[in-house]
């Protein structure tokens, strides 16, 4: 792994993450209760408060990150997205063929939604009063989120590591802070190395799943039409392994991304996540969530963020003390909320 070049007058800073699992759980639970009591309306306020808490408890050099979206923006975006979503649900029940056409129409629309969603998220994130910005455009999103995944499929996923690298470059390389563009100089080799490890883990997973599948099929012999839910144990095992595989990949790639990300003479990062550590946190969280029927979701989120923050170092130059904000944060939350509603959130990193 290449050590990133350091800047001449840089100073190093830890990322201090002061949120506590219990503190966030309290906030999250009460907000969820208020959301339920208001039939979902309060959800927009809950989202803002949850993010304000998590961002506000993340500080670098005693300056806290800021989440600047307003509940009204989110509520409007959410209602609009809900309307579109309901039309989809309604149409696909009454006319499956028309629904098929609508889903096809969604394909050219989705890059626009992705760009809008990223813009909303970036622009409502600020550090020291200066908002981030996303500079990717429609064609870029079309290429990275529609064309490249097709390329990956056509090459029997041999090109997938490269495609993921390109997507990461699109998402991070189009980030601007105070007019300074970030660059992500990741190497394709690192992605293939991570993919190879993932491939080996997957083979083990496949053998395990195949053997348990054989077991289930034997017990089902002679019974009536197979009940989809009798596949539940297998589905759970598959989820488990997909989490395992994902976290191995994430742990390996996260360090590489952090060390390849920089804005010239302004900021660079170092990340010391270990596969074992990251995997341990992921498994701990999975157990917590399963045994609390999902109630430990907020605690799990804090535990994971705390681990990542503790392993990351930021290097800043004195230029950070004199940056000027370049963007407003007034755009609609429709893209982001639609992404959540249609479950196409970008949770790649």
């Amino acid at each position: 792994m290449t050590t990133p070049e350091s800047f001449a007058n840089e100073r190093s800073a830890a990322i201090e993450f002061t949120a506590t699992p219990w503190g966030y759980t309290k906030l999250w639970l009460v907000n969820m209760l208020l959301t339920l009591a208001t039939l979902g309306i309060y959800g927009a306020w809950a989202k803002v408060r949850n993010n304000q808490y998590l961002y506000g408890h993340t500080s670098i050099e005693d300056n806290r990150l800021q989440y600047l979206a307003t509940p009204k923006q989110i509520l409007l975006g959410r209602l609009l997205a809900l309307g579109v979503f309901l039309i989809f649900v309604g149409v696909s029940m009454v006319e499956p063929i028309a629904a098929g056409i609508m889903y096809l129409a969604l394909i050219p629309l989705s890059p626009w939604l992705i760009v809008q969603g990223l813009k909303f998220t970036y622009r409502n994130t600020a550090y020291r009063n200066v908002r981030f910005d996303f500079k990717g455009d429609y064609m870029g999103a079309l290429y990275h989120f529609i064309v490249l995944p097709l390329v990956a499929a056509v090459t029997l996923y041999l090109a997938l590591p490269w495609v993921i690298k390109k997507i990461h470059q699109f998402m991070f390389g189009n980030c601007e802070y105070g007019g300074e563009k970030l660059q992500l100089n990741t190497s394709t080799g690192q992605y293939y190395k991570a993919a190879l490890v993932v491939f080996l883990v997957s083979i083990i997973a496949f053998i395990l799943i195949a053997s348990s599948m054989a077991g289930t099929l034997t017990t089902m012999q002679g019974s009536e039409a197979p009940n989809p839910l009798s596949f539940l144990p297998i589905i759970l095992v598959m989820y488990f392994f997909s989490f395992l595989v994902q976290s191995v990949f994430n742990a390996m790639i996260r360090n590489h991304i952090a060390e390849s990300l920089k804005a010239d003479e302004l900021v660079r990062f170092e990340s010391r996540i270990t596969v074992a550590g990251y995997l341990g946190i992921t498994l701990l969280n999975a157990v917590l969530i399963l045994f609390t029927l999902g109630l430990a979701f907020p605690a799990a989120k804090v535990i994971k963020m705390r681990y990542i923050a503790s392993k990351t170092t930021v290097f800043l130059t004195p230029r950070i003390d004199h940056m000027a904000n370049q963007v407003e944060g007034k755009e609609s939350a429709f893209g982001e909320e639609a992404a959540g509603m249609f479950d196409t959130d970008l949770s790649i990193v």
Binding site: T18, A19, G23, K26, L27, L29, V30, M32, L33, L34, T35, L36, L39, G40, G43, K47, R49, Q52, Y53, G56, H57, N63, R64, R78, L82, F85, L86, V89, G90, M93, V94, E95, P96, I97, R128, N129, V130, S223, E224, A225, N227, L229, S230, L232, Y239, F243, N285, A286, I289, L293, G294, L295, F297, D321, H322, M323, A324, N325, G340, S347
Partner: protein, 331 residues
């Protein structure tokens, strides 16, 4: 007079200055830069806007210029009765109540409120919509079903027997019986009144047992179970989208599983409903309700022992529960 140490931030700039805010009892205030002791701003508390209050995070004080002051102390409050939300969010009773009420409300929402709402609103779904749904579902299903291999006269005689029984039971008969072939013996109803019977079912049941099954399927149509399922699915999607859109990863899987268990419970009550409908109409047609029980028992897998926990995973109640219920009704 209060001396509050903190940091002065300038609108739209990353520049910050260590500062002291001097707050008088009358609400007037001055902010001084600590390093050179010059005045950064002076105003009154009334003209300022305070930031949101979150546990463990200092509350900002925003000035007209867009600049703001962040105190060092995260517990400092600018007005005495501020922070109702923060109070709720950190108050033990509220948190415990939420920990109990949140899962309970979700459970009630998906097992009681939505099904009851679906039941209540199902009659409001226009018949024209149900007819369209039925037609287009049949079109879609026909891609995966084989045409029936039953002889024409046999199909006609089943329909004739059904019509006779339905008339005797006083059933408004606008059902359309279709025959198809598939891998398993089964029958299902569509909301427009179409009942599809698989050859495999016709082959293993007696004629009277088959009529009993048709009454059960007619029950699904008559009680508008299709419309109920449509309303339930849409309502479930809205609730899920609005309340749980922020969840990700494993939590989504866990909750999704919980919700489908709740939906299965709803589906089981519809099966019981349809059984009751069939029993009632079999009696009215002068036939034995036991026919439905024996039809159920003729389906493959009936020798399997009852596992009560399995029932929660299933869309149909356990066969033993169903036959016992039917038999008790026939006495």
């Amino acid at each position: 007079m209060q001396r509050i140490t903190g940091k002065y931030c300038m609108a739209g700039r990353s520049d910050t200055r260590p500062a002291i805010l001097l707050l008088r009892d009358d609400g007037s205030l001055r902010v001084l830069a600590t390093d050179f002791d010059y005045e950064l701003t002076s105003t009154t508390l009334k003209e300022c806007r305070q930031g949101d209050i979150l546990p463990g995070i200092p509350v900002e004080l925003h000035f007209d210029s867009g600049d703001y002051f962040i105190p060092e102390d995260p517990d400092l409050r600018w007005t005495p009765r501020s922070g109702f939300l923060a109070y709720l969010e950190s108050h033990m009773v509220m948190v415990l109540a939420a920990a109990l009420l949140v899962p309970l409300s979700f459970w009630l929402m998906f097992t009681q409120v939505i099904p009851a709402g679906a039941k209540a609103t199902a009659p409001l779904v226009p018949q024209e919509v149900l007819n369209r749904v039925g037609r287009s579902s049949m079109k879609t299903l026909d891609y995966s079903l084989e045409p029936s291999t039953l002889a024409q006269y046999e199909q006609a005689s089943i329909i004739k027997d059904w019509n006779k029984a339905a008339e005797k039971a006083g059933l408004d008969n606008d059902y359309r019986i279709l025959f198809r072939s598939a891998i398993a013996p089964n029958a299902f109803a569509l909301p427009d009144g179409t009942i599809v019977v698989f050859d495999e079912l016709v082959n293993i049941l007696s004629r009277d047992e088959l009529i009993a099954v048709l009454f059960h399927e007619a029950g699904h149509v008559d009680r508008r179970h299709g419309a109920q399922m449509m309303v339930q699915a849409s309502a479930g999607a809205i609730v899920y989208g609005l309340l749980l859109g922020d969840l990700e990863g494993l939590s989504e899987v866990v909750l999704g599983t919980g919700i489908s268990l709740g939906e299965n419970a709803f589906s089981r009550t519809m099966e019981t409903d349809a059984d009751d409908f069939a029993v009632e109409h079999l009696k009215a047609a002068g036939m034995s309700p036991d026919l439905l029980a024996s039809a159920l028992n003729s389906l493959p897998g009936s020798e399997r022992e009852t596992n009560s926990w399995r029932e929660y995973l299933s869309t149909h109640p356990e066969r033993k529960t169903r036959t016992e219920r039917i038999e008790s009704a026939s006495d």
